[in-house]
Structure formats: structure tokens, C-alpha cells
């Protein structure tokens, strides 16, 4: 009898705080690949593995509070994160008015535009885009509208107290940026534009456009990005990518035109082919081949790489 009372008391003590807890989900993706890159030794390497926690809880107003943390889970060292650098860490709220987020987050500059062509599993295919300045941004506050007949707009600011010098030689003590983006989708068609205006330590802009079309198992995406922050005076980088799924098999391909550098040196082209094979709902293997043109190799934009990898999500 006494045991029952104690057990009830213990259960009560444990369930009381549970009621107040947010609905949290632990998730992750461990990704390992074997890569044979031109000019490098065969390497079994991490392929941007990550682990995170997503949580939501209801607010009195009826809106939903959001908390999201995600960091690298390095499969080479077995360590979390990279010193001084994580992936996502933001809080916010979402409701009928849209979504407001504060903290380190993906900006629509990536998600809505160049993200349309970032479809390969091999991380080595992602070298055209600067995630540091045009992707995940810390010290950011963003507002994303609800969908209005297929149209969605976003506005964000970045305010970071950090000294430095940008690619254009501009120096300062603050990293400030304002960001506007819009995306429109109808049926399988989507188009998005973005401008990320840096003002401070970094005093250049990143403008991008993304277009995509999907029908049944076919997907085609195109993006063009003018990144004056990291390549001032250089041409825009254009990427055409596509995929076609047949059952558990998906073939993907892309062509990247790096354009001319500020010194009018042709950056060449990069061709990527990939095949992915689903092994289950949460796991797949892939083989990826990158063929870099001679000009791309000369300009250090890309090298030939063959990689085979295995992704397990949870």
C-alpha cells in the first residue's frame, strides 16, 4: 500500500512538469562519404552530418512558439559542432500573421533562391554558395509572411558586433544587413528573388534569383547569384539542376557556370551527376561525380571528385 502511494507520488512529480514541457523532437542526419578528389588522397569523410532539436509550444494567443537548435555532428571526430560555429539556433513564433524568428537561422536568401539548385547529396557540390554570408546567419531577426495566394514575402535584419574586412576591402566594427525576399509558387512552378544588403564591416550585397518547376517525378531548378560580398566585381554564378525519380532510384544532374572573375578570368564550368538509391524511408546511398572544366580547375573553382556516400536520417 505504502509502495503504491510512493509510486503515485513519484509519478505525479514526474508528470507535473511534463505537462508544461514543449513538444520537442530530436532529429538528425549522419552522413559519411568516401571521396576521391583530384589532387587529394582517398578520404573517408564526414558529409555535413547534423543533429538537432525542434520544439513547439502553444502560446496563450493561439500562436505557436518555436525553438530550433541544430549543430554539426562530425562523423570523423565524433564531436558536436565545429569550434565557434554551429548551424541553427533560433526562437520565434508562428501564427496566422506569419512567422517571426530571432537567432541563427536560414535566410530566405538561400532557402528560396539558390537552395532550389542545391539538390545533391554530396557536400562537395555546394562550393558556389557562401553559407557564412548568404545562408545561415546569426544575430538575425526575420519575418516571413503567410502564403497569400501563392505569394510569400520575407524581411530580415542582421545586427552583429564584429570587426572585419570584406572582399571589397571595406572595414568596420559592425556587421549589419537588411534582407528582402519574395517567392511565388503556383502548381509546380516557383520563382523567388532576394536581396541581402550588407552595411558595415561588410559593405556589399548578395542578390539572387531562383526558379523551379516540378511535375510528378521530375524536378528542374535554376538559380543565379550575384555575390559581391565574397566576389566583388565577378560575374554571377548560374546553376541549372534537375532530378528524376523512378521508384527508389533518383538521378540528378547540374551544370554550374562560374562566370568571369573581377579580373575577367573565366571561372569555367562544373558538371555534376549523381544517383541516389533509397534503402528505406530514412536511409539512402549515393554516388556523385563532379567533372570540372580546365578553366574551373585553373581558377580553383572546382576539381574532379568521385564520391560514394551513405546518409541515415532519424
Amino acid at each position: 500500500m505504502k509502495k503504491s502511494i510512493i509510486a503515485l507520488a513519484v509519478a505525479g512529480a514526474l508528470t507535473a512538469p511534463m505537462v508544461a514541457q514543449a513538444d520537442a523532437t530530436v532529429y538528425g542526419s549522419l552522413r559519411v562519404q568516401i571521396a576521391d578528389a583530384d589532387g587529394a588522397a582517398l578520404d573517408i569523410q564526414d558529409n555535413t552530418s547534423r543533429i538537432g532539436i525542434k520544439a513547439t509550444s502553444e502560446l496563450f494567443s493561439g500562436a505557436t512558439a518555436i525553438a530550433h537548435f541544430e549543430t554539426y555532428a562530425n562523423t570523423e571526430s565524433g564531436s558536436f559542432g565545429t569550434p565557434g560555429k554551429g548551424r541553427l539556433a533560433y526562437v520565434g513564433a508562428t501564427g496566422s500573421y506569419g512567422t517571426a524568428l530571432v537567432g541563427r537561422q536560414w535566410l530566405p536568401a538561400y532557402l528560396w533562391t539558390v537552395g532550389k539548385t542545391d539538390i545533391m547529396a554530396a557536400a562537395s557540390t555546394e562550393t558556389t554558395h557562401s553559407y557564412g554570408t548568404g545562408g545561415r546567419q546569426g544575430n538575425a531577426a526575420a519575418y516571413i509572411s503567410p502564403k497569400m495566394g501563392g505569394l510569400q514575402i520575407a524581411a530580415a535584419v542582421v545586427a552583429r558586433d564584429a570587426a572585419g574586412v570584406d572582399a571589397g576591402g571595406d572595414a568596420g566594427t559592425q556587421v549589419d544587413a537588411s534582407h528582402l525576399a519574395a517567392t511565388y509558387s503556383m502548381g509546380g512552378f516557383g520563382v523567388a528573388v532576394s536581396t541581402l544588403q550588407y552595411n558595415g564591416t561588410v559593405d556589399e550585397n548578395i542578390n539572387s534569383l531562383g526558379v523551379n518547376y516540378s511535375a510528378d517525378n521530375l524536378y528542374v531548378g535554376f538559380s543565379v547569384e550575384d555575390d559581391e560580398v565574397n566576389a566583388k566585381g565577378a560575374d554571377s554564378v548560374m546553376i541549372l539542376a534537375g532530378s528524376y525519380a523512378m521508384g527508389n532510384t533518383k538521378v540528378l544532374g547540374s551544370i554550374t557556370d562560374f562566370g568571369d572573375s573581377a579580373a575577367d578570368v573565366d571561372g569555367g564550368k562544373r558538371y555534376v551527376a549523381e544517383v541516389q538509391q533509397k534503402l528505406g524511408k530514412q536511409a539512402f546511398v549515393f554516388a556523385n561525380y563532379i567533372e570540372a572544366s580546365n578553366k574551373a580547375e585553373d581558377a580553383s573553382k572546382a576539381v574532379d571528385v568521385f564520391a560514394v556516400g551513405y546518409n541515415v536520417n532519424f
Binding site: M246, T249, V251, Q277, V285, A287
Partner: protein
């Protein structure tokens, strides 16, 4: 996978034995008008097989552990998938071509050069296609039965197709020539060893049995397993 192959061989031969009794003599002359040439060549091949190939295949099977034999079969099966990719494309079978391409990629890398067939359990079935099947797919008839010296049973369409097939055979690209020839020899012995169990079902006139089994199997492959039977065959 090898057991499935053997089973398919046995099933084909069994079906032949059932059907062959009902096949009329005039039909034989229709599909085999060159029997006067074919039979002597067949006899020549039989002698060659009896004194050289069959003992080699038996010896190979006796000294080779099953796991190694499977690995060798997988290795050559992976190379054959290269030709299947081309022929699936020529037959406008995009999904099969992609699956065969994926098979080659994953078996060559994860499967250690093709020795392990990792693609099949991954959900990538093989779609064996050669140029003879491609011609058949586009409506080219098989032509008369033809026994080729050293190469065995064939028909006019498949005999001619051996040339383009050899052009997409990766073994042909191997250097030095000595290694290439060793691979050719190993493949022949391995293929012959796979047929040892199946041929035990043959009885009666071996020439007729092998001819009919070959022609029916080719029709089966050209039609991707969808074979139309005549009423008088039942």
C-alpha cells in the same frame, strides 16, 4: 542470385522438354533450314566441349569455393550490366537503363569492383539486354537457327549482334592483352560451369533440345518474359 539463374535455366529447359514433344517436324525445318551445316558444327563444338570446356568447368567448380564462384559470377555480371545500359537506352527503357547504371555504380564501388552484388538487395534489379534483344525489340526477326563454331547456339540476328555486343564489353578494353585473355577464359569457364546443372535435364537428341531451348529462351528475353503460345502447343 546464382541459384535464381540456375532455376531459370532449369525452368526453361523443363518447359522445353514439355513443349518439344508437341513441336511438329515441319516447324523444325522452318526454324532450322541450315541443319545440314549446323549439325556438323554442333558435333565439333560437342567434341571441343567434352574434351576441353566441360572438364575445365568441372575442375573450376570442384576447386573453387562457392563464395568465390559467386564473386566471379557477380564480377562478370557487373561488366555485362554496362552493355545492358546501352541496350536498354536503345530500347527506350529509361528506367531500366537508370537502374542498370545505378547497379554498375554501386556494385563497382560499394560492391568492391563488382565482386559483391549489393545492388540487388538495395532494390535495383538487373535488366539483362544485349544487341540481339534490341533488334528483336524493334521487330527484327531471329532468322534461322545457327550454330557458330566455338560460340555455340545462335541465330542470324543474334550472331550478327555479337559484334556490337563485343564493342561495349568492358573486358575488351583491358590492358595488357594477356590479362584480357585471362578474363575472357575465366568468363567462358564460369559461364560453362553455370550450365552444368541445367544440362543434366537434357535427354534425347541433344542438338534438338539445345536448339529449341535456345530459340525459346531468346524469344522469352526479347519479349521481357511475355511469350505468346500457339493453341496447338497445348
Amino acid at each position: 542470385m546464382r541459384s535464381i539463374k540456375r532455376l531459370s535455366h532449369l525452368l526453361l529447359l523443363s518447359s522445353f522438354l514439355i513443349v518439344s514433344g508437341a513441336v511438329a517436324q515441319d516447324q523444325n525445318s522452318e526454324i532450322d533450314p541450315w541443319q545440314g551445316f549446323n549439325r556438323p558444327v554442333f558435333e565439333f563444338n560437342e567434341v571441343l566441349d567434352g574434351y576441353l570446356l566441360k572438364p575445365a568447368a568441372r575442375g573450376y567448380q570442384a576447386v573453387t569455393p562457392d563464395i568465390v564462384e559467386t564473386g566471379v559470377g557477380n564480377f562478370f555480371g557487373n561488366l555485362a550490366d554496362v552493355g545492358s545500359i546501352v541496350n536498354n537506352l536503345l530500347q527506350l527503357k529509361a528506367e531500366a537503363a537508370v537502374q542498370d547504371f545505378s547497379r554498375v555504380v554501386f556494385n563497382t564501388t560499394i560492391g568492391l569492383g563488382g565482386i559483391l552484388d549489393v545492388a540487388t538487395p538495395m532494390g535495383l534489379p538487373e535488366h539483362k539486354e544485349d544487341f540481339g534483344q534490341t533488334l528483336g525489340y524493334w521487330g527484327v526477326g531471329s532468322g534461322p537457327y545457327l550454330v557458330l563454331p566455338f560460340l555455340g547456339p545462335s541465330n542470324v540476328r543474334d550472331g550478327i549482334s555479337k559484334l556490337p555486343d563485343s564493342m561495349v564489353d568492358p573486358v575488351g578494353e583491358v590492358n595488357p592483352i594477356r590479362t584480357r585473355n585471362q578474363l575472357y577464359a575465366l568468363r567462358i569457364v564460369d559461364s560453362r560451369a553455370e550450365l552444368l546443372a541445367a544440362e543434366q535435364l537434357l535427354n534425347g537428341d541433344r542438338y534438338t533440345a539445345i536448339r529449341d531451348a535456345y530459340m525459346q529462351r531468346r524469344e522469352f528475353l526479347v519479349n521481357d518474359g511475355e511469350v505468346e503460345f500457339d493453341d496447338d502447343q497445348f
